[in-house]
């Protein structure tokens, strides 16, 4: 049977499979929201979503409404509505297990850029919205998962601008810099593969590639050469149930999932 899916759907499904049940997760805007809802529906019925504007544990309604992240549908039946200070305090005090973020650039040590491209801060070539709550999520949560399109220029030796911290910044470790111990980027899910980080050096390490792609094809699409795990796993494409759930239940208007490259695959 041939299936067709977007690489966004691939990322979402693989990220959703990573989430553990009975854990708290700090959810960024857009793709991470869809990941969390999919995980909740299929794999982790008791994950507790946390949003920076002050919603803890909502039972988000579907279809997912992109626009009103803080509105009634997405924050439906939360356990608590609170302030941003409190939402971040839960994270800073260690109560939030996972964080999930997007990124425009990522570097060898998992630092991420969502601020600007270029080498002159005053005159950026491209300007993005900046940290939002990303810096706090990446600083405070125990394990940060980054979900981003796999494009050559997005993988760099050192981000043009480090918005949110990875494992090592300009030669200094997270802990030396005062960031909470034993935290940091945990996985990077891209539209072609999955990365972790070397336990000792904090360097990006390829752990998995999408079924049908080779390691070389994935590395080809990166401006840096990451570490590669001894055994690189094959990442399954979206299952029928995942796609049905995404397309019929969560995002029927395709606001998020229809974006990206279309992939056809025999399964």
């Amino acid at each position: 049977m041939e299936i067709e899916f977007t690489d966004t759907e691939f990322m979402i499904c693989n990220a959703a499979r990573l989430l553990e049940d009975n854990r708290t997760i700090f959810v960024g805007w857009g793709i991470p929201q869809v990941v969390a809802i999919l995980a909740e529906k299929l794999y982790a019925p008791n994950i507790v979503q946390v949003f920076e504007f002050g919603a803890i544990g909502p039972l988000s309604r579907t279809p997912f409404l992109r626009g009103t992240m803080g509105g009634p549908s997405n924050t439906y039946r939360s356990l608590q509505w609170c302030s941003m200070n409190l939402a971040f305090s839960y994270a800073q005090a260690g109560y939030i297990d996972y964080g999930m973020l997007g990124a425009a650039q990522i570097d060898r040590y998992g630092n991420i850029n969502s601020t600007m491209i270029g080498d002159d801060y005053e005159k950026p070539k491209v300007r993005f919205p900046g940290s939002g709550g990303g810096n706090e999520v990446a600083s405070y949560c125990w394990k940060t998962i980054i979900v981003m399109a796999h494009e050559k220029r997005r993988f760099v030796e050192r981000c043009d601008f480090i918005t949110s911290p990875g494992h090592v910044i300009d030669g200094k470790t997270r802990e030396e810099l005062g960031l909470p111990a034993e935290t940091g980027p945990y996985r990077v899910i891209t539209s072609m593969g999955m990365f972790g980080f070397d336990e000792k050096t904090g360097e990006l390490k390829l752990l998995g590639v999408m079924k049908g792609f080779t390691v070389e094809e994935v590395l080809e699409e990166m401006a840096i050469e990451p570490l590669v795990a001894e055994k690189v796993v094959e990442l399954e494409p979206p299952t029928e149930l995942e796609l049905k759930t995404l397309r019929e239940d969560i995002d029927p208007y395709g606001l998020i999932i229809s974006k990206g490259r279309k992939i056809k695959m025999e399964v």
Binding site: G70, C82, M84, P129, G132, C159
Partner: protein, 325 residues
């Protein structure tokens, strides 16, 4: 005596009011009397927003944002604002497009290519913080303390372009970032319910509603409903902002339009799309002319530009009331 080492320091210009200066402003200019502060948005902005002010607002243009007040600020052609883009979406886009803004403290700059271009061209100056750090700054401003420590920004370029200072904490001997207090000159905040004195109640996530009100020198509240004071006294746990923080109360049904207000109406996605699709200054000017400059008030905007049948649809879409009353 011992000293605490300063390890790092951002280079941004900061809007910082020493706690004693803010206290004196509160003593002399905020009012602890129960005074009727109800006025229309024209009067409120005229009285309390000035050229060159540091402006804060709360929540976002999608949800419970003070959009009618933002439009009034644009209509009155306020200039040279320094704004706090905390969890902002289209407020900064509109304010920058209308030429009201010189500087932006960025938590989240806002959506889309238009505002990005303004920054790239140098039309507005930005300082990079994060939603968390600017919120901590408001918390410090609200508490009347000069700064608050936090374990974020550390090591990043965000820190370098912020105004945070990193010191070695004397208790844990670890580096920690000190976020300077922020006391905006003026804040505009939309709420579900307020009384004529400024007691205000918010339902749903609160972002930094109270902290913003407490920390700001002047505060304009717009409210979907004006209610009697007894409504607050009957449920004191639910009061979000006490009256003595507030300078003006504006009755503004659909005050968040084109965003939604929980328990009242949903966002207008179509109108919203008009905004997010703005790319050029010409498109921006034509939007501003059509929806802001060509009307005299929020009421006129609703009546002439949106219309009852559209508003009715948005009310109809807003059927989740649980938790909002």
């Amino acid at each position: 005596m011992e000293k605490l080492e300063v390890l790092d320091k951002g280079k941004a210009e900061i809007h910082f009011t020493p706690p004693d200066e803010f206290r004196k402003f509160v003593r002399d200019r905020k009012n602890r009397a129960f005074e009727d502060k109800l006025m229309d948005e024209g009067e409120a902005v005229k009285k309390f927003v000035k050229n060159g002010d540091y402006l804060a607002y709360d929540f976002s243009s999608l949800t419970r944002g003070p959009q009618s007040l933002i439009r009034e600020i644009i209509r009155q052609r306020i200039r040279n604002l320094w704004i706090l883009a905390k969890f902002t979406l289209l407020e900064s886009v509109l304010l920058a497009g209308a030429g009201c803004v010189d500087k932006i403290d960025v938590g989240f700059l806002g959506f889309g290519p238009y505002i990005a271009k303004k920054v790239q061209e140098g039309a507005v100056k930005v300082y990079d913080w994060s939603n968390g750090s600017v919120t901590y700054r408001l918390v410090a401003g609200a508490m009347g303390i000069p700064f608050i420590p936090a374990r974020d920004l550390l090591g990043t370029d965000t820190l370098k372009h912020s105004g945070a200072v990193v010191v070695k904490d004397p208790f844990s001997n670890q580096p920690v970032a000190l976020m300077p207090a922020l006391n905006p000159d003026v804040a505009v905040i939309h709420v579900q319910e307020a009384d004529i004195y400024g007691n205000a109640r918010v339902y749903g996530p609160t972002v930094a509603t109270l902290e913003t009100a407490m920390a700001s020198k002047r505060v304009i509240i717009s409210a979907e409903r004006i209610v009697e004071t007894i409504e607050f006294r009957e449920h004191p746990n639910w009061t979000t902002i006490p009256y003595y923080c507030v300078d003006a109360v504006v009755h503004a049904p659909f005050g968040s339009y084109p965003g939604g207000t929980q328990g009242y109406y949903e966002m207008d996605s179509e109108h919203y799309l008009k905004l997010t699709s703005i790319r050029t200054d010409e498109e921006m000017q034509s939007y501003l002319e059509e929806y802001i400059y060509s009307v005299d008030s929020h009421d006129e905007f609703l009546e002439k530009k949106i219309g009852i049948s559209r508003l009715k649809e948005l009310i109809q879409k807003s059927q989740i009331l649980e938790g909002y009353r």
